[in-house]
Symmetry: C2
Subunit: 221 residues, 2 copies
Amino acid sequence: MPIIEEESFDPEINPKAAIAVDVVIFSVVDEELKVLLIQRDFWPFHGDWTLLGGYASPKETLEETAKRELFSQTGIENVYLEQCHVMSDPGRDSRTRVVSISFMAVINSQDYQVPYLGEKARLGWFGYKELPPLMFDHAQIIQAAYIQLRQRLKYSNIAWRLLSKEFTLTELQQVYEIISGKKLDKRNFRKKVLVVGMVIPTKKRQHNVSHRPAELFRFKK
Amino acid sequence: MPIIEEESFDPEINPKAAIAVDVVIFSVVDEELKVLLIQRDFWPFHGDWTLLGGYASPKETLEETAKRELFSQTGIENVYLEQCHVMSDPGRDSRTRVVSISFMAVINSQDYQVPYLGEKARLGWFGYKELPPLMFDHAQIIQAAYIQLRQRLKYSNIAWRLLSKEFTLTELQQVYEIISGKKLDKRNFRKKVLVVGMVIPTKKRQHNVSHRPAELFRFKK
DNA sequence: TGAATAGTGTCTTTCAGACAATATGCC
DNA sequence: GGCATATTGTCTGAAAGACACTATTCA
């Protein structure tokens, strides 16, 4: 009988669990905050819309899992992912114990037009407030990711990921208004982003607009 | 041959993983921010100090796992836990794939004196800046939890969990100074917590102090 | 010249930070 | 009275918020 016990890992008491990764991709499309969903073409829940994602493989971190699944399902790559909430209710998937780790990303939807996305699978952008019925706890996952996105908007530079390299201050303001859900004063907004040095002018202007063209800006650094 | 494929969950490609829960308990002890660690009395890493925690059981959420392990290892209960970072490096535990979900909590160390804690196991408070060598990625986990704690201190009421029901404003200020690592101006601090209505006076005063006794306050709501 | 959007400045209020003298209870 | 800590207010500068008119391009 050993003096030193072995660690109390008993596969009967602590069985392993399946690890799912769910990815919430946000973008601003048609002046609305939208979430990218995929339509399942396999059993169960065939035909339902669901978050992107998949199951973890043993030789990769979960961030890598998320990127791999995201690329294979949509062609989207080089995104910045952030961990969100872990879902672990034992009944969340009735088939077996599945722990879900969710990730959040924002992309510029211009870079990934629907035709291109459409090559890969049946994908669709859904307004954050007009989501279809979602399986499991995916609605909660999106909710938690949205809260995190709003935090990031306040305290970080994340907005640049939603826009093209060059953009007008009005476009930037719209991103802030759409995500925060509040109207902002144009003069105060422009003053602020310029004072904090978040953006710098390019001297270039918009083309092909039927009104006074706006100056284009870039994000700093 | 079915028209509708089955979901691509292949136990060969996506084997299940062990799920570990790690709990970072913070408290202010002797005017220092400290972390509660437990000394392992089993193989491997026998004798090393490590975070509290254990392996997930199938019929509980990971929050419940964390609470159960915390109680069985320390007697601490009724704590508020927050999810922190998920660690999933495939090599983090060389024995098998273990995904760790960490949780963070703050407690009032007065409520759990060392003698009481000592009944349960070899537990110890370690200064956040004087941690012993820790196995796996536990140092990183603590680091991430600390960053989250500082966030919460700024934008939430979490400080009340570190103090007794009634406390002096000097004690509250010390909590803020210790966690943020910055000296604060006494007058500005008191003005602020009173103006924002974070605390309310009780009309009671300290006893048994050899100087002018301070008024005791409570947190609001 | 009309339509559409770009671009711009001042005033007020609020919040953060610097700063030091008096008050009280205990011994 | 001496010691130790509690308690208190003003001034300044920075940032946030309210608010409306002129400028430019195109059709």
